[in-house]
């Protein structure tokens, strides 16, 4: 009797295991075939001479693609631009998003409607946002110049996207606009998980607003904040769509970041060099993520 039961259970487990395997199979197969296989292949291309325009010689060249890039004035420019782009976008996004989340924390009439309205950039692609802002920042007929002149902040129209000095500012403004909502929503969700008693206690202790912010609110949500920032850095770094829509990397390649330059090189057919850039991007971002995660961990343990 006992043996019979245990065999039955074993058979059942075997069948279940097969079912589960079959359930997982399509997902794993798709991701393996169309994401991981090209990825592995792409990594190997980074070490080969692989140009679509001339496939007669696809030999292994070691680190040549990497050294070509590191000596490439243009590539070094895109690295610098990437840093400006990430930092310049992230800091205002964070500050404005945080402020909005604080303002939204207490319930008010139409808060739901408000959130739904403010949410709309999420539904739009970075590429389209780029196009919208390209039109608004148009040097001759752009609404930005018109508004700035009406408010007397400038006297003559600024050729935003035609002038290297202003183009980066303009794409960053667009990107800040695009990303604020993400921060607001994520931080708001975290704020709502902070128990109300903490605030009551701090109010009873007579803590002021600023004090409450820095000794109650921020410590309570610091893990979420840290992870949101990390995800955001990676995401901003990896999002050349907006730049493509707004400037296409111009004028004179002044707004190209590493990933947008990588796509341009891919489109030109130099897969070896593009892959080398991809490998560097992934490598640098992974290193960054590891160091970042390590640096936020010990502080957490100390608390």
């Amino acid at each position: 009797m006992g043996r019979e039961l245990s065999t039955r259970r074993r058979q059942f487990t075997g069948r279940t295991a097969l079912t589960l395997f079959l359930f997982m199979l399509p997902a794993v197969a798709f991701v393996g075939m169309f994401t991981y296989y090209p990825l592995a292949n792409g990594i190997s291309m980074a070490f080969r001479n692989y140009n679509l325009n001339d496939l007669s010689d696809t030999s292994w060249v070691g680190l040549k693609n990497f050294s070509t890039l590191l000596n490439d004035e243009m590539f070094r420019g895109t690295v610098k631009n990437s840093v400006v782009w990430v930092v310049g976008s992230l800091v205002p996004q964070f500050l404005i998003g945080f402020t909005m989340a604080l303002w939204l924390r207490r319930k008010f009439r139409f808060r739901g409607t408000y959130q739904a309205l403010v949410f709309f950039p999420w539904a739009v692609s970075g590429f389209l946002i780029g196009i919208l802002f390209r039109w608004m920042f148009n040097g001759e007929f752009g609404v930005v110049n018109d508004l700035l002149m009406k408010t007397q902040l400038i006297e003559t129209p600024v050729p935003w996207l035609a002038d290297a000095r202003y183009a980066m500012v303009a794409v960053i403004v667009a990107n800040v606009w695009y990303g604020v909502t993400f921060f607001a929503i994520m931080i708001l969700a975290a704020l709502q998980s902070v128990p109300e008693e903490l605030y009551e206690a701090s109010a009873i202790d007579g803590a002021g607003k600023v004090r409450t912010l820095f000794s109650i609110t921020i410590p309570s949500i610091r893990t979420t904040l840290a992870l949101t920032v990390l995800l955001r850095v990676i995401w901003i770094f990896n999002s050349p769509e907006l730049i493509f829509g707004m400037t296409g990397g111009g004028p004179a390649n002044e707004t190209h970041i590493v990933t947008s330059y990588m796509i341009q090189v891919t489109q030109e057919g130099d897969y070896g060099r593009a892959s080398a850039m991809g490998v560097m991007v992934v490598f640098v971002l992974m290193l960054f993520a590891i160091f970042y995660l390590l640096s936020i961990r010990p502080k957490k343990a100390m608390r």
């Binding site: 359930f23 607003k209 769509e241």
Partner: protein, 278 residues
């Protein structure tokens, strides 16, 4: 948080929120207004913030001068099929990942999450070569397959979060009554999770609808272009026709906005709860 019921604080708060709302809405308003202006008045100075004559000329021009109807059809077909397939496939995987413990589970979750760190376009070149070998370049079904693969990881993570809100006793009871696991999943669990599944589907759809680089790379002929690829063609021309451009932009934003408005609550729930649990 901030115990502030003073009038000044309240004014600052609502003025700030109002300004944020205005700035958020304005770009959309501006492209809408531009698209409904008479083509000649778009470039007329001073700029009109509220057009005196509303006109559909830009929309008519768009459909006359380009195959925009074809692009819309392609985008709709590719996004619908890819989003549906990805949702079903992710549903099966998410169920397993939510309910069972097994050795390679961590590896699978890890592999899925890593794809979220690495953008889909990082291996664009080798993907193009793979698709050439499969004879799937410049083929809408080929693009569907790629979009399914790109959509699966995040969709699985989201759906897994939704599964965890449904007690396992539900499908266990159905299976005691003689249901197979598959039919228990589709007859008992799916109906309970409809909002979450719908949200995941919409999320996939919007992402496929918006996708640019894969589409530009894998589709060559005009009759296979999706909307973003077509827009890319429009802005690459030396003289951008902002009249039909604005009409095209509006037409490509509207469907996603309508869908997102329905599903945004659930998507936020799925994303934030998934993030907190990890």
């Amino acid at each position: 948080m901030i115990r502030d019921y003073s009038t000044a604080g309240r004014i600052v708060r609502f003025a700030g929120l109002g300004l944020c709302l205005l700035i958020t809405i304005f770009p959309l308003y501006w492209i809408l207004v531009t698209s409904f202006k008479e083509p000649g008045t778009i470039f007329a100075y001073p700029l009109k913030y509220w057009p005196s004559d509303w006109s559909l000329a830009n929309y008519e021009g768009l459909f006359e001068q380009s195959n925009f109807a074809v692009y819309l059809g392609n985008s709709l077909l590719v996004s619908l099929v890819a989003a549906a397939l990805a949702t079903v496939i992710s549903l099966l995987a998410a169920y397993v990942l939510a309910r069972f413990e097994f050795v390679s589970k961590g590896a699978v979750m890890g592999a899925f999450l890593v794809t979220q760190m690495i953008p889909g376009f990082i291996a664009l070149g080798s993907l193009y070569i793979l698709m050439t070998r499969l004879y799937l370049v410049d083929n809408r079904w080929g693009l569907v397959l790629v979009y399914v693969a790109v959509s699966i990881p995040l969709c699985t993570v989201m759906l897994r979060g939704f599964f965890e809100n449904v007690p396992a006793s539900l499908e266990e009871a159905a299976m005691v009554d003689g249901c197979s696991r598959l039919s228990a999943l589709f007859r008992v669990l799916v109906p309970v999770m409809t909002p979450g599944i719908a949200a995941s589907f919409i999320f996939n759809f919007v992402n496929c609808w918006n996708e640019l680089f894969l589409s530009v790379t894998l589709m060559n002929s005009d009759s296979n272009k999706t909307v973003p690829a077509a827009l890319n063609g429009f802005i690459s021309s030396y003289n951008i026709d902002w009249g039909s451009m604005s009409a095209a932009a509006v037409l490509s934003i509207i469907p996603t906005m309508v869908l997102f408005a329905f599903a945004s609550r659930y998507i936020v729930e799925g994303l934030t709860s998934g993030a907190v649990k990890e």
